[in-house]
């Protein structure tokens, strides 16, 4: 199961690059989220921790942090602490428009993040996916 999760992570990150190149950067960002959660599940499986669809998104990320702490790689640990907050805060904003009541303001996913920021996000997630690949 861990290799299957990891394969999903790698392919979804590939999809992020293709989607970004195609000019739909907000979907590329959503793919980053899914790749990150998939690689988190791969590590969780290898360390016999809860994983998959039955685990709430926030719990998956906290479990991932615990797993990385268990392995103890300071460089990746810092990256995971940063990315957990970014990924979970970003996820819902990439799905639907949000209207602020009593206002004309509507926030749409493509305005939440820039293509340049998505490029950086892909690189950060790739680093974590590569690291997990070496651990499982």
């Amino acid at each position: 199961m861990k290799q299957e999760y990891q394969r999903i992570a790698i392919r979804t990150l590939d999809a992020a690059r293709v989607t970004l190149a195609g000019g739909i950067h907000e979907i590329a960002a959503f793919n980053c989220y899914h790749a990150y959660e998939s690689t988190a599940s791969a590590l969780a499986v290898s360390l016999h921790s809860p994983h998959g669809g039955g685990v709430h998104h926030k719990d998956k990320l906290n479990i991932f942090l615990q797993c990385v702490e268990q392995i103890g790689d300071d460089r990746i640990l810092h990256q995971v602490r940063r990315l957990n907050g970014r990924i979970e805060s970003l996820r819902n904003k990439l799905l639907y428009p949000t209207q602020v009541r009593y206002s004309q303001t509507i926030v749409i996913p493509e305005n939440v993040i820039t293509a340049q920021q998505v490029e950086g996000l892909i690189q950060n997630v790739q680093e974590v996916v590569n690291w997990v690949g070496q651990q499982i």
């Binding site: 960002a29 926030k58 719990d59 990320l61 906290n62 942090l65 702490e69 640990l77 810092h78 602490r81 940063r82 990315l83 957990n84 907050g85 970014r86 979970e88 805060s89 970003l90 904003k93 602020v100 009541r101 009593y102 206002s103 303001t105 926030v107 305005n111 939440v112 993040i113 820039t114 920021q117």
Partner: protein
């Protein structure tokens, strides 16, 4: 509390708790929550991110009690409502996540960011005002 107009009322005037000067400080019931919020205030004041004007933490389960920060339970996350002046939502999310990364590692409470442009602050919906007036804790103001 419903404020259905584009009122000029400052949000900082309706926040019941503040970790900044001049406000009522909460009495924290959980040590990890206290560590997260006090450290977050300190970290933000040191970092002074140039695109963030105001950060308000909202207690989970804020509808249930009048003194939500007194509760002993440890939430798995706390949302930081963040108002930014320029750039986009992700820039604010990135700034908060990076600033609070080490504190998250220490407390294991995931700091989430709900980021909005400062220009829409005065147009906030009434349920936001309810959240803030029930359990908002002001942790940073530029």
């Amino acid at each position: 509390m419903a404020i259905a107009t584009a009122s000029p009322i400052s949000i900082t005037e309706i926040i019941p708790y503040s970790l900044l000067k001049g406000g009522k400080k909460p009495i924290f019931g959980n040590r990890s929550v206290e560590t997260l919020l006090l450290s977050a205030t300190e970290a933000l004041q040191q970092a002074r991110p140039d695109n963030i004007s105001l950060v308000i933490a909202v207690a989970p389960g804020q509808k249930l009690v009048n003194e939500p920060w007194n509760r002993r339970y440890k939430p798995d996350s706390i949302t930081f409502y963040t108002f930014f002046n320029k750039n986009n939502t992700f820039a604010a999310i990135e700034a908060i996540s990076d600033t609070l990364a080490e504190i998250y590692g220490q407390t294991k409470i995931l700091p989430l960011t709900d980021a909005w442009s400062a220009t829409v602050m005065k147009d906030l919906p009434d349920d936001w005002y309810a959240k803030f007036t029930n359990s908002g804790c002001l942790i940073y103001s530029e």
